[in-house]
């Protein structure tokens, strides 16, 4: 048992050591603490994976916090197939990105702090995925949010970073509020927070309605929607997606680890984990599917025209997360998790590769000032190509299988499924376009940056490139665990593996249909690439022409549909104005002072009255004692 407890514990220990001794003793040796810890977790996670590979589930109660009668609050770890997959994703990506960070963060004055936060994040993430009840999950959920807040604002003396951190924190509050309500509602409904207990009873509560804010709502639906609020916030789905692109202010390893591979997928994991609840509520399922599909295409369109290399990848992340929710929504939970798993590899790869580019260009992120880098940094270029092939879904790269599975499942899921499939396919086209556009703008053509930058151009050191290559391997091969039966007898290993937790997706189609889906998606993938090639390599002026021709559209996309501005004018500005008055002028002075002093002053009236009894003359104290004793005597004798 201790073995499984150690998985999250090792990073925590590393965090404690770094935070306590980092500043004075460890300083730039911080990775010597962090990396062994994460590697240890990785090894343990692998062994745990093999423990549950046989289909058995590990569920251990680590400790009881409060046990009083039937009121029982405890914390425990559960490792089933889903958790095992997540463990591998988190620890593998974590390990590689830790190593990468050694090179990337080298010389930063907050080096030890960076690794400390990373360790804390890994701990929180592992707790999130390993918890055996909603309370533990909620703890991890909030903890990862906090870590991301710290890490986005890691360069706190950079104002934009601080703002981005705040933004992420505040936006997530909305979602987490819903999630918290959902958890409470679950406790009220099922009387327990244990996954086993809750999911066991899920069926029996299906169709029950309660009176919520005046109108009758289906209980399970309400719970699912509240939980999904949390997922929307954490996984940056519409309409709470705004924080993720800004989160790119953080160091690139953070973007790769937290805002691509692991944390943002927590929402997907949570919905998948709660699949017994969700399948009881068609409304919730449809909501998930539609939000996912719309987000997928919405984010993709924005990514078409962005010029900041990291923002493009960020929006592509949002879009891919939309894919995953789409899959979950149509009941193909294993497909969603499969995509989560492959996405972790190729998206981390893309981020780290772009990080390597940024590193080479001394923190230049604007693609308009790049170009022609392929001759300077071949390795980065190669892995970038691999990552792009993977994300655009070219056979036999990882992305192909997972994306294809999703589209196929959507295709099978009734009329609305067809519609979603259409969305997904279009999104795939866009994805391929902007991914290739990124490649061409960055690596092809000739260098558009300053000559001073050009002079320093170089391939990144081994400590950066080696993790990239390993991830590239993953981006190629990770998908092979999910080769559909179409291509191979008893393929879709991962689906089978996850079946005990996530069940089998419904719906069956003919081979012809499946070939059709596969063909279309591959076709659009290639098509997007070709269009991008034409526009950004052959006739580089076309892009400008189109942009000017469809100026409004371009502006709309370039400004991300003005969502930020919308929120800014409708929500943030008023709130800020109010809070400037309220928080600074009112809360600080009046409310806090009021609560801390005011209410005491109310009671203080009695208080001062009572004080006067304490005359300071001990004779009177004696009198009080005697009177008290007499009162008790009188009380007793009267009472008899």
């Amino acid at each position: 048992m201790i073995k499984y407890t150690l998985i999250p514990l090792l990073p925590l220990i590393a965090f404690v050591i770094n935070i306590l001794f980092g500043r004075n003793y460890i300083r730039d040796k911080a990775h010597w603490v962090a990396i062994p810890a994460i590697v240890g977790s990785l090894l343990l996670a692998i062994s745990a994976f093999f423990d549950v590979a046989g289909g058995n589930v590990i569920n251990i109660n680590v400790y009881d916090w409060i046990v009083s009668g039937d009121f029982n609050v405890s914390a425990g770890l559960m490792i089933d197939q889903l958790t095992a997959i997540m463990l591998l994703v988190v620890t593998i990506c974590g390990t590689l990105i830790f190593i990468y960070s050694v090179g990337y963060m080298h010389g930063d004055e907050g080096y030890y702090r960076f690794f400390a936060y990373l360790c804390l994040f890994i701990f929180s993430m592992l707790v999130l995925v390993m918890g055996n009840n909603f309370l533990v999950m909620y703890f991890g959920w909030e903890a990862v949010g906090l870590c991301s807040y710290f890490l986005i604002g890691f360069w706190f003396n950079k104002k934009s970073a601080g703002d981005a951190g705040k933004k992420a924190f505040i936006v997530n509050r909305f979602g987490d509020f819903g999630f918290g309500l959902g958890v409470i509602l679950i406790f009220l409904t099922f009387g327990t927070l244990d996954f086993v207990g809750v999911f066991g009873q899920a069926g029996s509560f299906a169709g029950q309605t309660i009176n919520f804010l005046g109108w009758e709502v289906d209980l399970v639906t309400l719970i699912c929607l509240l939980l999904f609020c949390g997922a929307v916030g954490k996984s940056a789905q519409l309409p709470l997606h705004v924080w993720l692109p800004d989160a790119m202010e953080g160091p690139t390893p953070v973007s790769a680890l937290i805002h691509a591979a692991t944390m943002v997928t927590a929402g997907v994991f949570m919905v998948a984990r709660c699949n017994p609840l969700f399948i009881e509520s068609p409304i919730a399922m449809n909501t998930v599917a539609i939000v996912g599909g719309v987000t997928a295409i919405f984010a993709a369109t924005i990514a078409l025209v962005q010029n900041d290399i990291k923002r493009v990848i960020a929006y592509s992340t949002v879009s891919q997360l939309g894919y995953m929710f789409l899959a979950l929504g149509v009941g193909a939970f294993s497909a969603g998790v499969f995509h989560l798993y492959t996405h972790a590899f190729f998206k981390a790869l893309l981020f780290l590769a772009s990080g390597s580019v940024i590193h080479a260009l001394h923190n230049e992120q604007d693609m308009r000032n790049m170009g022609g880098l392929k001759k300077y940094m071949p390795i980065t270029y190669a892995v970038f190509i691999i990552g792009t092939l993977s994300i655009t879904g070219i056979f036999p790269f990882a992305g192909f299988f997972s994306k294809d599975e999703i589209l196929w499942r959507a295709f099978l899921a009734g009329d609305m499924g067809k519609f979603l499939w259409l969305l997904g396919t279009i999104a795939a086209l866009l994805t391929s376009f902007y991914s290739w556009r990124l490649i061409f703008m960055t690596f092809h053509g000739d260098f558009r940056g300053t000559s001073e930058q050009e002079h320093h151009l170089h391939e990144s050191p081994k400590v950066i490139t080696v993790p990239l290559m390993i991830l590239a391997v993953g981006a190629v091969a990770a998908g092979w665990v999910g080769i559909p039966p179409l291509f191979m007898e008893h393929g879709d290993k991962i689906g089978e593996f996850l079946a005990p937790v996530l069940g089998h997706p419904s719906g069956h189609g003919t081979h012809a249909q499946e070939w059709f889906v596969v063909g279309i998606s591959s076709l659009v993938a290639v098509l997007g690439g070709i269009v991008a090639y034409v526009m950004y390599v052959k006739k580089t002026d076309i892009a400008g022409k189109i942009a000017s021709a469809f100026k409004p559209v371009h502006a709309l996309l370039y400004n991300k549909y003005y969502v930020d501005e919308l929120y800014d004018t409708t929500l943030i500005q008023p709130v800020m104005k109010a809070s400037d008055k309220v928080i600074l002028g009112f809360i600080d002075k009046t409310i806090i002072e009021g609560i801390v002093n005011g209410i005491p002053n109310v009671i203080g009236v009695f208080s001062r009255k009572l004080r006067t009894i304490q005359t300071g003359v001990f004779g009177s104290y004696g009198l009080a004692m005697t009177v008290g004793a007499l009162c008790i005597i009188g009380y007793l004798f009267f009472q008899r």
């Binding site: 009671i603 009572l610 304490q614 008790i632």
Partner: protein
């Protein structure tokens, strides 16, 4: 006529921990005469305490109770656990006081031996199964603490504290004696078990004189644990006494008082439970009210903590009121937690005391978070714990007491208690507010010392650990105290 009384040297074995402690005190006294610096004396006291604790664990009274001196004295789990609390209290007090007493220019060697003697008295109280031993232990504790309160001979507040404590203490012990004499007269014995037996055999539970005895005895105990209206000595004495002594007094005598209260009420007067519950409930409510309301208008931190300790006494009492063994367990658990958080808080108060700076006023805590973030953080933890905010230990303590009340279907008491602890939050959090939201300009020097650091680390750690992972300790208390 050479008939041997049924008493031999073997009888003294359960008494060994007390013997060790007393000898420690005596040797410390002698040591003080020969060595100039007080460090060795303090160290020796700690050492002796550890030896005593080891001896007690070796005696293993936790599992098989051993009585001594013709059933006047017993070493069982109940007494043992209280003794553990006393040891912790003593060691922590010595740790936090060494530097402080030097600053106060009253670093006498007697200080340490007196602490030890007081502890010995408490131990005897915890183990007393006879009213005579109980009285002796109580007086030993009381007399030592009188002197401790007045240890700062040239400080008028200290003098006054000692004076008040002495007079009122003597007054209350006279009440105790009168109660004892009445009880003895009505039952013809001073042994607790025999008392209960006689009450049942002769069926005199309703006897008014016996009542009177019980009431007088409880009055004295109420004085020791500072229940309103017998609490009025506490604020003045706590304020005037040296802070380290205040820390010692706010835990030790209280715990000892609860020890004897529990034993006397449950063992001797178990058959009169209805009556004494009816006495305790109004006392507890009054104490809560006085403690948490009057504390609000205090600006001297020591005085505020004094009132807070009064309020805490009422919460602990609720466990006794529940009237079940489980309730008593929750009280003891609360006492253990209270030991750590209270001594921790007083340690911070001591930390702020430096040459020429009293550091007792609330205003002295302005901007502590800026000048000394660590001290402020620790104080934050202790204040949260005293308030009872999870996941600190204070929450656990309160939670279990209230739970036991609810199990003993006295829910209304639990509700009132929650309300009052909500009120108490204001004055605890006001300290936090001063530390974190107000800022001051005058520089502050912190009088740190290795032993102090150890004490702070231990207390803070225990407050957190007991808050996050209370189960083992709780089960330990359960098993230890009631098989």
């Amino acid at each position: 006529m050479n008939t041997e009384v049924g008493i031999s040297l073997r009888d003294a074995i359960p008494f060994i921990p007390e013997l060790v402690i007393i000898c420690t005190g005596l040797i410390a006294m002698m040591l003080d005469l020969v060595v100039r610096k007080k460090g060795p004396v303090a160290a020796f006291v700690v050492f002796g305490t550890l030896v005593a604790g080891y001896a007690m664990c070796k005696l293993n009274g936790f599992n098989e109770p051993q009585s001594a001196f013709l059933n006047m004295f017993i070493l069982d789990g109940y007494a043992g656990f209280f003794k553990l609390i006393f040891f912790i209290n003593l060691i922590l007090t010595v740790c936090i006081s060494y530097r402080y007493m030097i600053i106060e220019k009253s670093s006498y060697g007697e200080y340490y031996s007196l602490l030890t003697f007081a502890t010995a008295g408490m131990m005897v109280m915890a183990s007393a199964t006879d009213l005579i031993t109980l009285y002796l232990g109580l007086e030993l504790m009381a007399l030592s603490t009188y002197i401790l309160a007045g240890l700062m001979r040239n400080d008028r507040r200290s003098n006054e504290a000692a004076l008040k404590y002495f007079f009122l203490g003597a007054f209350s012990s006279a009440f105790l004696l009168y109660g004892i004499s009445l009880t003895y007269g009505m039952t013809g014995t001073t042994n607790l078990n025999e008392i209960s037996a006689t009450i049942q055999n002769l069926n005199i539970a309703g006897n008014p004189i016996l009542f009177l005895g019980l009431i007088f005895i409880m009055t004295a105990f109420a004085f020791k644990i500072a229940l309103a209206p017998f609490h009025m000595w506490a604020p003045d004495v706590y304020e005037g006494a040296p802070t380290s002594v205040t820390a010692f007094m706010s835990v030790g005598p209280k715990a000892a008082g609860f020890a004897v209260l529990g034993r006397v009420l449950f063992e001797a007067f178990g058959s009169m439970q209805v009556q004494w519950t009816n006495i305790l409930i109004p006392l507890a409510l009054l104490t809560m009210a006085v403690g948490s309301i009057v504390a609000l208008s205090q600006t001297n931190i020591k005085r505020m903590l004094a009132y807070s300790s009064v309020a805490h006494a009422s919460y602990m009492l609720l466990g006794v009121i529940a009237g079940t063994p489980a309730g008593l367990v929750s009280t003891i658990n609360y006492l253990l937690i209270y030991t750590f958080m209270n001594i921790g808080a007083f340690a911070i108060v001591i930390l702020l005391r430096s040459e020429g700076f009293q550091g007792q006023d609330l205003d002295d805590y302005r901007g502590l978070a800026k000048s000394n973030p660590l001290a402020a953080a620790l104080m934050l933890v202790f204040m949260f714990s005293l308030t009872g905010i999870p996941p600190t230990a204070g929450f656990i303590g309160k939670f279990y007491v209230f739970m036991e009340l609810i199990n003993a279907d006295k829910t209304y008491l639990a509700v009132i208690a929650v309300a009052f602890s909500a009120i108490s939050a204001f004055f605890y959090l006001r300290v936090v507010m001063y530390m974190y939201m107000k800022d001051s300009d005058e520089p502050r020097t912190i009088s740190c010392s290795p032993s102090m650091n150890v004490a702070l680390a231990v207390t803070a750690l225990m407050v957190i650990v007991l808050g996050i992972y209370p189960e083992p300790v709780l089960n330990y208390v359960k098993t230890v105290v009631f098989g």
